[in-house]
Structures are given as C-alpha cells and as structure tokens.
Symmetry: C4
Amino acid sequence: MGALKGTEPHRSHTSRLEAFSDGILAVVITIMVLELSPPPGSTASDLKPLVPKLLVYVLSFTFLGIYWNNHHKLFSATRNISGGIMWANLYLLFWLSLIPAVTAWVGQHPRAAWPAALYGVVAVMAAIAYSPILTRSIIRVNKDTRVAQALGSDTKGSISVVLYLAAIILAFVNPLFSYSLYAAVAAIWFIPDRRL
Amino acid sequence: MGALKGTEPHRSHTSRLEAFSDGILAVVITIMVLELSPPPGSTASDLKPLVPKLLVYVLSFTFLGIYWNNHHKLFSATRNISGGIMWANLYLLFWLSLIPAVTAWVGQHPRAAWPAALYGVVAVMAAIAYSPILTRSIIRVNKDTRVAQALGSDTKGSISVVLYLAAIILAFVNPLFSYSLYAAVAAIWFIPDRRL
Amino acid sequence: MGALKGTEPHRSHTSRLEAFSDGILAVVITIMVLELSPPPGSTASDLKPLVPKLLVYVLSFTFLGIYWNNHHKLFSATRNISGGIMWANLYLLFWLSLIPAVTAWVGQHPRAAWPAALYGVVAVMAAIAYSPILTRSIIRVNKDTRVAQALGSDTKGSISVVLYLAAIILAFVNPLFSYSLYAAVAAIWFIPDRRL
Amino acid sequence: MGALKGTEPHRSHTSRLEAFSDGILAVVITIMVLELSPPPGSTASDLKPLVPKLLVYVLSFTFLGIYWNNHHKLFSATRNISGGIMWANLYLLFWLSLIPAVTAWVGQHPRAAWPAALYGVVAVMAAIAYSPILTRSIIRVNKDTRVAQALGSDTKGSISVVLYLAAIILAFVNPLFSYSLYAAVAAIWFIPDRRL
C-alpha cells in the first residue's frame, strides 16, 4: 500500500470510518423526528400527547449527541485502524440504531415499565459497545500512542453501566426513576472525555 | 495531540463537525418530502390538498438552505473548536430537526393559528441557537481571528427574532400574516452573511 | 481569508457543497425505497402491485444516479464557489428532492395521465436547474478555467428538455409514451458528460 | 485537469464516490429500523412479533456492514476511477437499496417461502454486482496497481453465489434452511478480504 499512498494524497486511515459513523448517527437522530408526527387536530391541546414524545426525543438526541462528541474525540486521537475496530464500531452503531425504536415505544407509553426498561437495555448495550469493546479494540492496535495512554481507566463508563442497570430494575417500581437515571447518565457524559 | 498531528495528515479541526451537521441537515430537508405523500386519486384535482404542503415545504427548504449556507460560511472562517461549540452546534441542530414536524403540522392545517405559531417558535429558537449562542461560543475560542472581528454585531439576527415574535402573535389574528413574515425573514437571509 | 487558509489545511472550496449534495441525493434515492413497502401477503402473486413501483424506482434511481455522476464531474472541474452557485445548487436539489413524491404517485397509478405528466414536470424543472441555471452560475465565476471552456454548448440538455416537454403532453395520449421518453432521456445521459 | 489540480488541493479521485456510497449505505441501514416500529401494547409479550423482525434486521445489518467493510478496503486500494466504475458502483448500491424492502417482507412473514427466497435473489444480485461486476470494472482501469494483482481470483464470492442460489431453492422446502445459509455467507465474509 506504500507505493499507492506515496503517489497520491488519500484520506487518513480513520476518516472514512468517521464519515460513515457520522452518516449513520445523523440518520438515526433525524428519523426519530418522524415519531413526532403532527396531531390530527390543530389546537394547542392536540399537542399534549406529543409532550412525552418530545421529552424522550430530547433525551435520545442528547444521548446520541454525547456519543457523537466522544466518538469524534476518540477517533481524532486514533492512528491505526484494524478489522477489529471496524466491527467494534459497527457493533456500537447497531445498538445506537435501535435508539429510535425504543424512543418511539417510550414516547407512546411513557408510564409503562417495559418500554422504560428496554430503553435502558439498549442504552447499556451501547455503553458496553463503546467502552470497553470499542476502546479496547483501539488500544490493541494503538499501543504506543496517546489514545492508549489516555484510555487507561474508564470510571465514567463503569458508573454509566451501573446506573443503567439500576434504571432497568427500577422501571418496574416506577418508570420515572429510570428516566431520572438516564438523565443523570447524560449529565455525567455531557462534558466530553478530558482524557483525550 | 501535537505529535499525532505532526506525523499524519488529518482532517481540519472543523471538518467532522461540518460533515456531521451536513448529514443532519440533509436528512432533515429530505424527510420533509415524506409528508408530500401522493394523493389517493390520480387526477389533477387530487393534488389540491398538496398545494399548501408544497408551499410550506418550499419555505422550510429555503429556511434550511439559508442555515446551511450561513453555517458553511461561519465554519469555513472558524479555526478552533471547543466542547462548547460542539454543544452549541448540536443545540442548533436540535431545533432545526424539529422543522419537519412543524412543517407537517402547518401543511395539514394551513389556516389554523397554532401550527403557524408553533412554526415561529421553532424558527425563533433556531435563530437564537445560531446567533447569539453558536456565534458567541465560536468567538470565545477564536478571539484573534477574522471570524471574531467579522461577527461584531448581528443586525439581521436581531431583526429576524423580532419578526418571528411578531409572526407568533399575529398567527392568532390571521396565519397568513405569520407566513408573510416567515417569507420576509427568508428574504432577508437569502444573501449569505457578507461579514464572513 | 488568506491568513486563515495559510496557517491550516482546509477542505477545498467545493468539497462541503459536494458533501452536502451527496447527502441530500443519498437520502432522496434511499427514501424512495420506503414506497416499496412489503405486500400484506407472502406469495409471489402478492408482489404484482410492486412491479410498476419497482420499474419507476429503477427509472428514478437511474435518473438520480445520472445527476450524481454529472454533478460529480461538474464540481471536480469547478474552482471557485459563489453565493449564486450555492443557491443554484440548492435549487437543483429542491427539484430532485421532489422525485420521491412523483415516483410514489406514478408507482401507485402507472396507467394514469396526471402522475406521468407531473413526473415530467419535475424532471424538466430539474434539467433546467442543472443546465443552464447551475452551469451558467459556475461559468460566471470560473471564466478562465477549463469548466467554462468545456461547458460551451449543451446539446444534450436542450434535447432532454424537448423530450421531457413532449412526454408531458403525450402523457394525456398514453402514459407509456411518457415513460418511453423518460427512459430515452436517461439513455442519452447514461454516459457522463465528455466535455469535462 | 492538471493545471486545476496543481493550483489547489482537491479530494482524491475516489473520495467522493466513497462518501456518496457511505451516505447511501448509512441511510439504507438506518431506514430498516423504521420497520421495528413499537408494538401497540406496552408489555413484554407485545414485543414477540418484533423478534423475527429484529433477527432479520441483525442479518441485514451484518450483511450491509460486510459490504461497507469490503467496499472501504476495495476503494482504499483503488487509484483510478472511470465512468464504468461509477455505474458499477451505483448498480451495486441499487441492489443494496432493496435490502430494506426484502428485510421488511421477511420480518413480516418469517415462515413463508417467497420472502425468504426473494431475500436471496436480492443478496445474490448484490454479490454479483460487487464481484465480478464492480471488481472487474476497477481492474480494467487499474491494471498495474496492487488492487488488480490482489483481486486475481474470488473464491469467497463464488461460494457466496452458490450458497445464495441454494438458499433460494431451499426456501420452498423450509425457509429456515435459507436463513441458515444467509448466516453462513455472512460468517464467510465477516473477516475482510485479506487480499487487499
């Protein structure tokens, strides 16, 4: 590949992976809006059933925005790409792609236990897909670079997983507990990872 | 990050943010077309209910085109990116992502007050998200650059906010006043920002 | 802008416009597939109503593929971008964004005159938006470059407009004439513009 | 084109083709999620009809992920682009764009023969579009480069086509045979092409 790279400028190793991930995340975020379909009536009170849908849309939008921010930071510090990283990244995108489906279910049944719990299941699977799965696959082929040193421990990631698991269980007590915990995780991650 | 940047070419600081914003805007624009679903019949008169939908689609398409144009100009003059800029940008994208929902509601009830008013609420929130929120977050980390000097005052932005607020109130007199004001704001912004 | 450009590598002048256009075209092409929703039954005969939808999808996919190919060639030869080019490009994207709506209407009423005619109206408006509107806006700010010399006359564009107008009128005789003419225009444009 | 290229940095020959393909693939993957629309009820048992839909979504997601991975490898080793490559690439994207439609049909009738068979028809057409159609069009204009030498024989591609054809026939015996074969093909392709 050396000869080819030497004779012609080419996008960096990570840029197509980043562009593809951006594409998926952009579509995932935007198709959630389709759930905010207009009410049949045209008065302010017709908007009432949209309120929980809008609130969960705000949560999921923030959630996906956090992933995009951290993904951006992570790959801007990543030098080498492997097949393992590509599949770990697709595995993360798979779980994120289910966010619109669970967002729609929660929006339609905001007081029900199962939708609130399933939202947490997708969230915790995405969290694990990001860290440790994706981060470890990156460290494996970037051992001597800044990203490997920076990603030493992952306190935030571990706290998130614990809070998500608590939220899944508490959904069967009161879904409002779950939503509060999802918002708490979002708040923890709001500030991008300072290690990178 | 210096060592990494020095050894390998990498996309500029703003390019992934721009690419992600482009992705969101492209999907936001295009899913509005789903509301222009074909009429059940196959004659010219069956198209009549689509006329208001098409008109508000033209308005929203222009509206989003203006944001894309100005966003493009803004970030092509921006040098440094911060976490604050990333979140300000996502906040703008959040409000723009609601345009398809309000466009659909207006298209279904073109003579009703609330849809026309809500369109203005989303429009004014997006306008404020762009300026001052996004522009100020850019100036904060780009103090000595051309973009900071260029973005001194924002007369167009202030006029837009005033016109949007007037449109929201006038929707309850006659929605046609609101639509005229939305078109007027679009006309003001049609020419990209000469400051950049 | 010179100082800024000199200190930091930046994407070329046309690349964000190309990326945004690619995004819109990618979504426009793909949401047409939503019209190919699965039939209620599960036998081969249940697929029958999908046949005209699939055929018009092939036509529209080819149509949009041709635009993408020519757009790609056009902008890879374009050096300078102006506000006029940006708006001419958005105007082209506007008409192309209506393709899914007319494709859906034709797919549901393949033997009716009005859908076949409206398909031609959108096609001819897109053709005019591409040439002369977009090409002239490019020539205006790229006078001494290869693109200006190459885009001297546009025989293919003129023939396309004439064939589209004929197809619109002939839709009221028999829509099959229209479809044949649309396929003929696609065949003419299948080979990318040799002038560039 | 030399003069133009010499005066201004420009994206590499393949990058816009890659970006456009990424855009289409990202939307194709994500609109499949729309089929996972939430059940009307809010209990765990309401999720039951979603199980086959989710399983076929996993299959199609993996399937498209494999294409993206191999497409990425293929074009990162490709130097020259021709009109033939562009159309071969669009032809591949056409067949991949039909994946959401057949995925939806299979998800709604997981035990029926025809949806399982049609899934295989689309899969085999996409496989042939990738290899030999796309790979040969690349070799034709990249004769002395690494990609041509690397793409000498295509055992995996031939095996895939045979397995897909078997799956289409066996769908009429039992669709589970077909699904097993689709999963087997995915497993074969899971590891990206080592030739590149």
